[in-house]
């Protein structure tokens, strides 16, 4: 029977020839992830299980990124629980503050995830790694505790929805705009419990960073995972980087899909999602006059080198608006170094932006850029829920990095073409 890429990866990890949507399976996991918020809860549950050791010292990744470098005593205590656990259990992939990054930028960069892998993480944006042709999904801490002990997890095989993009991207349109556009079309539960498979000529030509942005936000449509069929672009990213052997899976041409959506890419403009749901997206050209107080560029959605390049291209030789606080977060230390080498960091600082060490920071209203009541922020992050970046009376607008940079210059939501 024909299968989708998601079904094939799940079948392979369940030791089966075949799986069908709706089936519950026990699957072997290639990597288990926790962070400074979710790992402490997972560790508490892990200790209750009574397992002496984790299933594999190299297949547990612990990343302190949410409230780090620690913002206060309480968050320091949480990080310490994770650090102590990592030392006690000799966890190989624990990333201390000087070599860390935002988990979903870091793990692929460090070669910990490869095509064909099955990865679970106690973080909803674990679905990011689908960009490499892996099955990856977010779960809660207790699930992660069980997986750390057993090296396997129960999963329900999802139905797949196929999104086919044909045509060329307009100027300034990125993977972020495609996914904001989809969520605008299908809503925040438009792919509930489903696998989102992104295909078509547009995706075949989309950079790996653009694919990460798309798969990252699959969960914002309620999906279990997002996935891009692996190809030469994937290969050039993982070759020499992946620490384990990997495998390319492809959907069979006659595989079954719950739905197929087709889009003409040439009609899609840069998008902005209005408060307070990612589904409130519209073209930037239709945003009207929305003045902003802050512009955040970074996060696991858009903190990669291509994102920083896009922002720098807009900010080069310009000054930001006097009423705007731009904050730029490279996703990892490697990305930070690359941005330094390319002169991007200097461009940002000369334009009047603050540049931070990698951290989730303001993305979840953690630290480093919290909003006051009534303040508005344009952000390249993935969620604009009530209070997501601070006071419940503040507002977050989601966009791509070039739009966030142009908005920082003009003091209102703006397209990059307005500052060229």
């Amino acid at each position: 029977m024909p299968m989708t890429i998601t079904e094939k990866i799940l079948a392979a990890h369940a030791g089966r020839e075949q799986v069908v949507p709706g089936e519950l399976i026990n699957a072997r996991v290639d990597l288990v992830l926790g962070n400074d918020i979710t790992a402490p809860v997972a560790i508490r549950e892990f200790d209750k299980i009574g397992a002496a050791v984790v299933f594999d010292l190299e297949r547990v990744a612990l990343v302190p990124d949410h409230f780090t470098p620690n913002k206060d005593i309480k968050s320091a205590e949480q990080s310490k629980i994770m650090r102590d656990f990592a030392r006690k259990h000799k966890i190989v992939n624990y990333f201390e503050v000087g070599c860390m990054g935002i988990e979903h930028c870091l793990l692929p960069e460090q070669g910990l995830v490869g095509p064909g892998d099955l990865v679970i993480g106690a973080d909803s944006h674990t679905c990011t790694y689908g960009a490499l042709g892996a099955f990856s999904t977010g779960m809660g801490s207790t699930d992660i505790a069980a997986a750390m002990a057993l090296g396997e997890i129960w999963l329900k095989v999802p139905e797949s929805i196929k999104f086919v993009f044909e045509g060329e991207l307009k100027p300034w349109v990125s993977g972020k705009d495609l996914i904001l556009y989809i969520i605008g079309q299908i809503g925040v539960d438009g792919a509930l419990y489903k696998a989102m498979e992104f295909t078509g000529s547009t995706i075949e030509n989309l950079s790996i960073d653009g694919r990460f942005s798309m798969c990252n936000m699959a969960v914002e449509a309620g999906a279990k995972n997002g996935i891009v069929p692996p190809d030469e672009i994937t290969r050039s990213y993982v070759e020499g980087r992946c620490r384990r052997p990997y495998k390319f899976y492809q959907s069979d041409p006659d595989a079954a899909y719950a739905k197929i959506y087709r889009y003409d890419t040439s009609k899609i403009e840069p998008q902005v999602a209005f408060p307070h749901l990612p589904e409130n997206s519209r073209a930037v050209s239709e945003a009207g006059i929305v003045e902003i107080d802050q512009s955040v560029i970074g996060s696991c959605t858009n903190g990669r080198i291509e994102d920083l390049r896009a922002a720098a291209k807009v900010l080069k030789g310009k000054k930001v608006h006097k009423n705007v606080r731009p904050i730029i977060f490279p996703g990892t230390q490697e990305i930070y170094l690359q941005a330094l080498a390319e002169g991007l960091i200097e461009t940002f600082i000369r334009a009047g932006a603050a540049v931070s060490t990698p951290t989730c920071g303001p993305c979840l209203g953690g630290h480093m850029g919290i909003l006051a009541d009534g303040e508005r922020c344009i952000a390249t992050t993935n969620r604009n829920f009530v209070g997501r970046m601070g006071h419940p009376g503040s507002e977050v607008y989601l966009s791509n990095p070039a739009v966030a940079a142009a908005s920082a210059i003009l003091g209102r939501i703006a397209g990059p073409w307005e500052v060229e």
């Binding site: 402490p40 299980i49 409230f67 968050s75 949480q78 909803s124 057993l150 979840l364 009530v386």
Partner: protein, 163 residues
């Protein structure tokens, strides 16, 4: 087991930031989390609330982050169960894993009004509206989930498996 309480009617797409804002995630202590449960979304909640109360929500309850702190906060606040049209998938798993009873019932989500008294038979998933006398059905948990519940949560289930 019967769960009895007063309905708190909530809207659609109640997200995990609304259930427990990230600024409180520097702790994983259930009681501390419970003190801030829903405080941004439902300012009357931490005050007007009695143990046993029941959340009745629209579609996609618990969307957003994977924070298990969300169902933990709801459970520790004394909410006996959550009824919704649909649940976001990570929240759905988490609720089972930590032992917060949840019921998917579009009928109840539609019909129940704020303040109605409800009685839920957790074994059959039948929801009785004691105020109006109406009865709603909810989809039973898949057999595998019932196994987890019977074992007393995922952790006990896994411990047993390791032995």
């Amino acid at each position: 087991m019967e769960l009895k309480g007063r309905a708190w009617k909530l809207g659609a797409d109640v997200d995990t930031d609304a259930i427990i804002p990230a600024r409180y995630l520097t702790t994983s202590d259930p009681d501390e989390l419970a003190a801030h449960c829903m405080e941004d979304a439902e300012p009357s909640f931490p005050v007007g609330f009695k143990a046993g109360d029941i959340f009745v929500a629209g579609k996609n309850f618990g969307c957003g982050s994977s924070r298990e702190h969300a169902p933990i906060a709801i459970k520790a606040a004394g909410v006996s169960c959550v009824i919704a049209r649909t649940f976001a998938r990570i929240f759905y798993r988490n609720a089972f894993n930590i032992g917060l009873p949840i019921f998917e019932s579009p009928e109840a989500a539609e019909d129940v009004r704020d303040g109605d008294e409800l009685a839920v038979d957790a074994d059959t998933g039948t929801i009785k509206n004691l105020t109006t006398g109406r009865i709603y059905k909810s989809a039973p948990a898949p057999p595998f989930m019932q196994e987890i519940i019977a074992a007393g949560g995922l952790i006990n289930y896994v411990s047993a498996k390791l032995k």
